[in-house]
Symmetry: C5
Subunit: 371 residues, 5 copies
């Protein structure tokens, strides 16, 4: 019997704290708004700032030093894309914010890394918050990173919690002059960045689908308490995805419906495409949720069926042998006057009776479909 409790593994799986589902809320009620305090997990990596500046003819790409003059960059004629990896240097972020004229509350939202996806339209720029999901390769836990994108006339600013993203394809298109991207404005670049993040959700969901499939097989073939833990964990990871995905529809819709002149009418059709994709992502997430929820029903019914199987074995064994043991007990009594004890054929006759009883019970259980 497997007496070792399955807790060891399950606890590992559940090592993600529930609190992380609500991570990085502002913690000081009553503090002044617009105070820049980074609230994400502590980081020791240095912050990296990457610049891509381009128009149709020229492309410049470089890492920015600490002493960069951001106001100068803000005044550039070419399209300027500044990407910040790491949010813990709030002074840097304040410098960039000042150079591009961002509102203090936008800066606060950028460093408070528990934002819900949203879009804010200002006169001079759009501010978009998204969540970039990536999968830990070994544990398959969803890593959930806040991405802030600000775009205005001639510039795109992107802020990530840490290095590593899904935008390499976009960078390649810029470098390789492939497609329309070099000939279009900041709105199109922002669209490309958002599109890459949304497309990446499909990969996440596909990995989940594979996990669901593996779990389905496990439920059918060898369900254990650990299976249930896995289902529970999967559901929890799905919460993370759903929280990231649900507000996207509204976000994409707001971008589609805006009347701001910052968005070129020609970009509108691409934004509608993003909107379609977000609806597909939401749809797929809902489907997975329902499959997982059906899986739990399947698991519970499977547990009940196993119980039935166990009880059947017990009942059959006990029902056959308990009456026979009683009969044997009768003739094990020591009464002086028990005439049967002296009959010659009594013993084999009793064995015969016992055999008939046993066969009768077996037939009875067969008829009930228990055998």
């Amino acid at each position: 019997m497997n007496l070792s409790s399955p807790v060891g593994l399950a606890t590992d799986i559940l090592s993600r704290p529930v609190k992380s589902l609500l991570r990085s809320f502002p913690k000081k009620p009553g503090a002044a708004p617009g105070t820049l305090v980074y609230t994400g997990p502590e980081r020791i990596d240095p912050v990296a700032v990457h610049l891509i500046e381009y128009d149709w003819d020229v492309l410049e790409e470089r890492e920015l030093e600490a002493d960069t003059s951001f106001p100068e960059l803000a005044g550039s004629e070419r399209l300027t894309w500044i990407n910040v990896d790491g949010l813990n240097e709030v002074d840097l972020i304040r410098d960039i914010g000042t150079a591009f004229g961002l509102h203090p509350l936008v800066l606060e939202d950028l460093v408070h890394t528990g934002q819900r996806p949203k879009v804010e339209e200002n006169e001079d720029y759009f501010f978009v918050v998204l969540r970039m999901l990536t999968l830990d390769d070994t544990t398959l836990a969803v890593k959930n990173e806040q991405i802030g994108i600000v775009f205005g006339d001639g510039y795109v600013l992107s802020f990530q919690e840490r290095a590593g993203d899904v935008w390499e394809g976009v960078r390649e298109r810029i470098r390789g002059k492939s497609g329309r991207i070099r000939g279009r404005g900041a709105d199109y670049l922002a669209y490309a960045l958002i599109d890459a993040i949304v497309d990446n959700y499909f990969n996440i969901l596909e990995t989940f689908a594979e996990q669901v499939e593996a779990l389905e097989e496990e439920v059918l073939e060898a369900p254990s308490q650990e299976t249930m833990h896995r289902i529970h964990t999967l559901r929890r990871e799905m919460f993370v995805v759903r929280r990231a995905v649900w507000p996207l529809r509204e976000l994409a819709n707001a971008l589609v419906r805006t009347e701001s002149t910052l968005i070129d009418p020609g970009t509108g059709v691409f934004l509608r495409d993003v909107y379609d994709h977000t609806i597909q992502v939401v749809d797929a997430a809902e489907t997975l949720r329902e499959v997982v929820s059906g899986l739990m029903d399947l698991y519970l019914s499977s547990v009940s069926n196993r119980m039935n199987e166990i009880m059947k074995v017990l009942t059959i064994m006990a029902s056959i042998f308990i009456p026979l043991t009683f009969l044997a007990g009768i003739y094990g009594m020591n009464f002086e006057t028990m005439p049967e004890l002296g009959f010659r054929w009594a013993y084999p006759a009793l064995l015969g009776v016992m055999a008939v009883m046993a066969v009768g019970l077996v037939v009875f259980f067969k008829k009930r479909g228990w055998l």
Copy 2:
């Protein structure tokens, strides 16, 4: 006892991968939009392009060769219906798209075969995505094919993932000049194609209803763990249908409410009819879903009842014979001083007591309704 696990069959039933529920998402986050990459399952069948060109008097019907001049077709005076079976030759699709002036994103949606049903209204054409469901004859699994329909002034383009469709009736009506179809425009032909697909859903749902009925009988007469798997599988297939069916209402509603001049007012009443049908389909799908969900409750209660039956048998057998065995055990003891052992009538008297006890317990169980 049925010791062979029912997994064999169930795994077969479940051979449809969960991933297929989310099939054919674009896979390259960051790739340029409008890139034509076919994302459906790999196909080796050649792509077939079928043309029907007609007005009230003339009908021409032929398979198109690889070197067809599509711009010429696009300029035809008659109503032109081009049907493409197979989406893997993206060059062909790009040629058609260019000839009829379609937007690159429309072409991308045509070959990305995981679209949600939708309608897009452009100035010069409507783009409709539907899902055509067909049942595999042997496994009764739902096959789910994306259908793209583009219609504009004087032409209808339809794109299917593979050969075989539900439009033979429409073709017959065109060929046989039956009904109004030969006298009407592209909007009416598109309506007829959509209507045929929606009508076909009823057939799918009816086959599901038959399966539900068979399952209901199975639950009532001989429920097993496999029954539960079947219910689970059926629910999953129903997800596929629901995802195809739900967006239809919105789609049909958008067609009914459009103010585009591409749709003749006389066609409006037929589109309203399609809208009514989609509502009926959604309704029927919901009813089936609720019946299946009730089936699961029925199954679980049936499992509980079976457990009760099993426990009753065990309890009755054990409760009757364990006390009797104890009594027999008493008189099987070897104490030197056990006066009863010497009494002449002790043995039959004890047998009498035992019979009375057994009868008493039987009466007790009868009263509780267990027998």
Copy 3:
């Protein structure tokens, strides 16, 4: 023990096929719209056409022959109510449709007997589809008949699947000149017909309420697997009612809000009354649904409790007698050196010990509340 499975009765109850919940969809995807093919169950009864023609002074009532000139009736000065029982003679329905100028799709809907309740407003007439529910007297199954009502200026046409309806009261009011009905127009007559059908739902729901009550008693007093089947069946019948009832709100609302001149402002207040009634019907149906769903919880808890009772009996019997049997077994051993066997008071002492043990266990179980 009741070993005969309760399936016999349950199967009877469930003799209504699931398919009937989705009955009479059009079956030929791709067929031309407006094709008149009756899709209901096959009928051999002849179709009966009943005419009531009246104004304030004159009333004429007769069965119409096969060769009636409908265009003549359509031109009558008086209010003309033609009621058709049976939809299988499509030529007759086409004749009526032509005489009163109905659209082919309206005729198609009339004979396709799986319509969802709806109202269609045309320039010259209103087309209302309702479902008339009647209860089979013996099995209490809900019979679900499509009723089509067309009313325009000076005429009301009503189409039923079969003879027998809930309109006898309306006819009596017309014949007896009671109330306002003889002095009002076609809109009021149509209102009276709809009102009678809606009022009849209350009767159906009351019969359901009685069944629910009987089931509640059964669950409390003698729940069996069959009870669960009954609950399941009742739920399924409730689906039929809900599907007939839910769209009514929208339908009644559309009639209340119409601005058509076909509806006299004086009739508006009565239509609002119908609207109120439909809301009450929907409300009552929801209440019943919730009670039935609570009944299922009650049933499941009752099954669990019974299981507990059974297990208690088993545990008490086994826990008391198994240790005693063990003790008896000890002194039934045949060791040569077992000094207790020779003691004079050993036997009664052992019996005493056994009695103490038994009493101790009984007290233990009493304390736990199991006795």
Copy 4:
């Protein structure tokens, strides 16, 4: 063991017929609208009509006789409040209706006592239907009475199913000239009546909260099948309350938003207050519903835990003594050649082995946390 079934009490609790949840629907489909037939439970109490007529200076209060001239009252200069207790004298109600110019359908709604709460705005008066809930002191069943309130310029008519109401406080304020009530119009009086009914819901809900609390304690301390019945009954009573409470929001909202000149702008702020209260009532009802539903989960888990406890006792007893009994059985065999039987220390040695086995099993069960 408590063998007496708990049905006796439960049936008492459930003595409220399910039908009463849908009480007093009109029963005669096809009858003319506006027919005054009282549909509530039969009553033999005489109908009482109470009049309060007042302005700032004068107050007159009396019971009205059968031969009152209502038209005269309707013409009174002062504010006239006529309260009718009992709806079974339809002639009286018709007289009042005629005197105050009420529509026949309003009168029909007044005597058809199954109305859903609603407000109807007419040119000359408002018609409000509410449900007054009172608790039966002994059984705590909710009594559900329809209240009709009609108010127009200078008069308020209130119709109750039976004597006894929650308006004594309002009457006292009128008599004692306390607050604003004597100086305001019919709209304010109507507001005061509605407000009193809504406030009373809080009392009902508080009594429910106490019952829920008692049930919670019962579930935690001594859950029985009867507990489940009580939960079920409570849920059913809650349906009654919810049906009365839900439509109130809409009703209060309609009163707040009306533009009728019958409602003084100064009364608007009080109506908004009623609206706030109805939202609080709905809120509280929802909270209670969720607590009760959580209670059911708690109950079911408690039943499962008890089952576990029972099974543990059985398993421990059986697992310890069945192997020991087997050992004793071995040495109770009568083989001629069983050398152990002759060994001197065999008997005590065997007893020792048995003790070790028993202790070993106890330790095993302790480790698993079963002891």
Copy 5:
């Protein structure tokens, strides 16, 4: 065995009465509106009134005495913030209300401490009701206090049920001239107060998240009936939070969308920030609710699995030893003619047979995965 019932602790946990979930409804149906009767729990603490009066240059802060002239304060040139701790002195509240021109119903809402969060816009002031949640340090029960905030031109009034709040940070910012607060108006101060309350919800939710996490571990490692009680209690506490949190969205939205001149356009962006935070709070509360609900499923499946484990042990023990005991019983019979008894190798042979049977059963159970 743990025979001591876990009720002791659980009752403690549940010591919060259900009624408190609906606390402090007005209790006297029919009483005049605007009557100031404090309905919260009885308090003996004296009421404290705190004044902060400031502009950019000057700050005055003091406790107000009983004989303060509020009209004088109302006329102050500087921004006046009066905070009242304790609502039981209704005369004081009436004085303040009169001085600042508040409507009697606003005062009634201030002292009726069961209000739902809401905002009321009047011509001269805004009236906001919020619920301030604090956690009891030892029991972790949520304390739920009503906060009324009134702000108009140049003044903010805040009313708390008792001393102690989350506004110390705001007071510090005023005193320390940090941030913008000293330079802005009453609308900004009110925003700061609301913001502090909303931010505090995150702390509450984080504590809940920690509790959920501890419970999750308990369910995985050592679930008991008490665990279920804890889950139930947690769910109930979550109701309190949800009822405080849900209406916030609407409230914040109303403040964002108001067109009142009392709110400076520059404050609007901060109110939008509050709105974003409320959406995050609602989101987080929903996530927690879903995790808790998944926890209950996990618990129930864990109970079922434990039952399975117990039954397996019982079945294995019984199935192995009952047949062996039967065999021993056979050879314990006292028939005179039992030839096997005399065979020399009979005894060891039988022991061998028994061993083979036991091993066979062990192998059988191993194969089924029970061992």
